[in-house]
């Protein structure tokens, strides 16, 4: 049988019932090849007749597959659209309620505020129609900045230790502990702060009253975000080739000099990413901070008034408030559509945008690493 005739019938069917090559896969193929080959001769009398390709079970099988594919595609697509829609929807909702504070919108109970009397004023007295949110912005930035100042060096140095110094058993143990710590609910950290850390420093030389304020909040936040920073910086240091370390030490660096002058700079983009992710987690945290910060919207005024202690102690131990803590405190107690309520939404919007900026920053830093 000439090869050409087989090629002329792609479905593998020979008019006379004799066939040689079967391009069809699947079960049919195996059952056919199980028949002893007979050198291309035409004696195929006992073989089953192969159905036309379009009628074969394999074909029908693949058609149902394609249908299932299409449904799956649709399902995946709609799920992702749902997520995108939710995120967009939340933004829209926040924006529409938040921006209503500044525009005379129908159904608004209060007056339209001026941007400057919200963002540039430190006077928060909603019942007297004064809505300066500067204390909360400053509070959020202050407490997260302070937390990062504690957590970033501690986390990065722990990362160096785990990746480059610790013996294998300790490395494994530490990594697992860090992963566990990341998963602890923030309220647990809050309880720890409220019942252990606060009493520890209250009524001491540090704070003559209950010690609520930035210091304790920042410490609690730092403890919360250290595991994240440790995890990510351990990865960063482990991904560095050991030739860098060896190269530095071969030039006469001490261990510490190699870490400080070569390894940390080499890992810098990923360390920055770790810090920013930690910052993101800290700035959005409400529960733990609310339990220890003292929730005093008038903290800036209070700090200005009291002059009995050193300024930095005053700054650290004056009961204060942040964007998140104020939202948690007040949002349930305000009427929808009131100016007060709208301003709280504006604060939510601000938080949303801040977090967004941080996430975009991490992505940029991550890309900088590859370049």
């Amino acid at each position: 049988m000439p090869i050409g005739s087989t090629l002329a019938h792609p479905a593998g069917i020979q008019p006379g019932g004799s066939r040689k090559a079967d391009p069809m896969p699947d079960v049919l193929e195996t059952s056919l090849t199980a028949v002893p080959a007979n050198g291309g001769g035409g004696s195929a009398e006992s073989r089953p007749t192969v159905p036309q390709a379009a009628e074969s079970p394999a074909f029908r099988h693949s058609r149902t597959h394609r249908l299932a594919d299409r449904w799956a595609h649709l399902a995946f697509l709609s799920c992702s659209l749902l997520v995108v829609g939710l995120i967009g929807g939340i933004l829209f909702f926040l924006a529409s309620r938040g921006l209503a504070a500044f525009w005379p919108v129908a159904g608004n109970m209060g007056r339209a505020l001026h941007l400057s009397e919200v963002f540039l004023s430190a006077d928060w007295a909603p019942s007297s129609d004064r809505f300066g949110i500067l204390p909360f912005i400053a509070g959020s930035l202050g407490v997260t900045g302070l937390a990062l100042l504690i957590a970033a060096p501690a986390g990065i140095l722990t990362g160096v230790f785990i990746a480059k110094m610790a013996p294998a058993w300790m490395r494994n143990l530490m990594r697992q502990v860090m992963d566990l710590l990341v998963g602890i609910p923030s309220v647990v950290y809050g309880i720890f702060g409220l019942t252990v850390v606060l009493p520890l420093v209250s009524h001491t030389w540090l704070a003559d009253a209950p010690a609520s304020g930035f210091a304790v909040s920042a410490v609690i936040l730092a403890v919360m975000i250290v595991p994240t920073i440790v995890s990510l910086s351990t990865d960063a240091f482990e991904s560095l080739p050991s030739s860098l370390d060896e190269g530095a030490q071969a030039l006469g660096s001490s261990r510490w000099q190699a870490i400080w002058h070569v390894l940390i700079p080499a890992a810098r983009p990923r360390l920055l990413t770790a810090a920013v992710l930690g910052l993101g987690r800290a700035i959005g945290e409400a529960m733990a901070v609310q339990m220890v910060i003292g929730n005093n919207p008038q903290w800036i005024a209070l700090m200005r008034e009291s002059t009995d202690r050193a300024p930095f102690l005053r700054a650290l131990f004056t009961p204060a408030a942040t964007l998140t803590t104020e939202l948690v405190q007040e949002l349930p107690n305000t009427a929808a559509g009131s100016t007060w309520n709208n301003v709280l939404f504006a604060m939510g919007l601000l938080l949303y945008l801040l977090t967004m900026v941080l996430i975009l920053a991490t992505r940029r830093l991550g890309r900088g690493k590859e370049a």
């Binding site: 050991s242 860098l244 060896e246 190269g247 071969a250 030039l251 006469g252 660096s253 002058h261």
Partner: protein
């Protein structure tokens, strides 16, 4: 086995006597004795796993960075034991530079790579640093290629340039000995030729020990060749003699390609 008997005018720089080396329980080198002359190139050849790289790394104790090791016997530099003679390993590494198998420039600028060592040792004024950097880059035959882009990242250079940068970086601290661990194994033939030329120039005032798996390279660049097998020194002699009239059959079998 202390074989070289030709009139050698250069003093002995490194001297190894009955040296053994082990990682934990595993013995890698045993009963090694040999001398390395100043301002000469000594090549160490042998099949993979014969311990030649390990031996090289004993001269700057760099293996101590990553694992617990045990060295016995004597390893002397200028007559002082580098393990027990009260030499700090950080000082030792300043005197004994190293170039690794794969180029390992730091992810910093070309300038900062070369200035790294001098900075460690307290050189901080700009003029001295500039001088040291230029000098080292010239010695490494890299100056003309990079003088206009010293501020650019070293990781953007070609492999051959990176390796010469690593040589410049090692030279910048003015070492007495330069250890080279298969320095051309990751390079193309042209880059390899450049490094080999460089080795010839550098030995003017430097003791060079080079590990190589490439016997032609050993023949081209070295004055002495030591043949290692299974952690032992089989034969060491003038390179010329090793490659023409080796005295041990096994050496001949190895260099003629019968094993390894």
């Amino acid at each position: 086995m202390l074989i070289p008997t030709v009139p050698e005018t250069k003093p002995i720089k490194l001297s190894v006597r009955n040296m053994a080396f082990s990682y934990g329980e595993k013995k890698v080198l045993d009963g090694l004795s040999l001398d390395i002359h100043a301002e000469r190139v000594t090549a160490i050849i042998g099949p993979s796993g014969c311990g030649k790289s390990t031996f090289l790394k004993c001269f700057n104790r760099i293996h101590e960075v990553s694992s617990a090791v045990n060295v016995s016997g004597d390893m002397l530099m200028d007559g002082v034991d580098i393990y027990r003679g009260g030499i700090d390993e950080v000082d030792l590494r300043r005197r004994v530079g190293m170039v690794f198998q794969k180029p390992n420039p730091f992810p910093k600028s070309i300038y900062e790579n070369v200035a790294f060592g001098p900075r460690l040792f307290g050189v901080s004024d700009r003029t001295s640093l500039d001088g040291i950097v230029e000098d080292a880059l010239r010695k490494a035959a890299l100056w003309d290629e990079v003088k206009d882009r010293l501020k650019e990242s070293a990781t953007g250079m070609s492999g051959g340039q990176q390796q010469r940068l690593c040589i410049a970086r090692a030279l910048a601290v003015n070492p007495e000995v330069l250890l080279m661990d298969e320095p051309c194994s990751a390079l193309d033939p042209i880059a390899t030729a450049k490094i080999e030329d460089l080795i010839g120039e550098l030995k003017e005032n430097l003791t060079i020990v080079i590990v190589t798996h490439n016997m032609q390279q050993a023949a081209r660049v070295s004055d002495y060749t030591a043949f290692f097998w299974l952690g032992k020194l089989v034969e060491m002699d003038l390179t010329e003699r090793i490659f023409t009239t080796p005295r041990v059959q096994m050496t001949e079998d190895y260099i003629t390609g019968r094993f390894g």
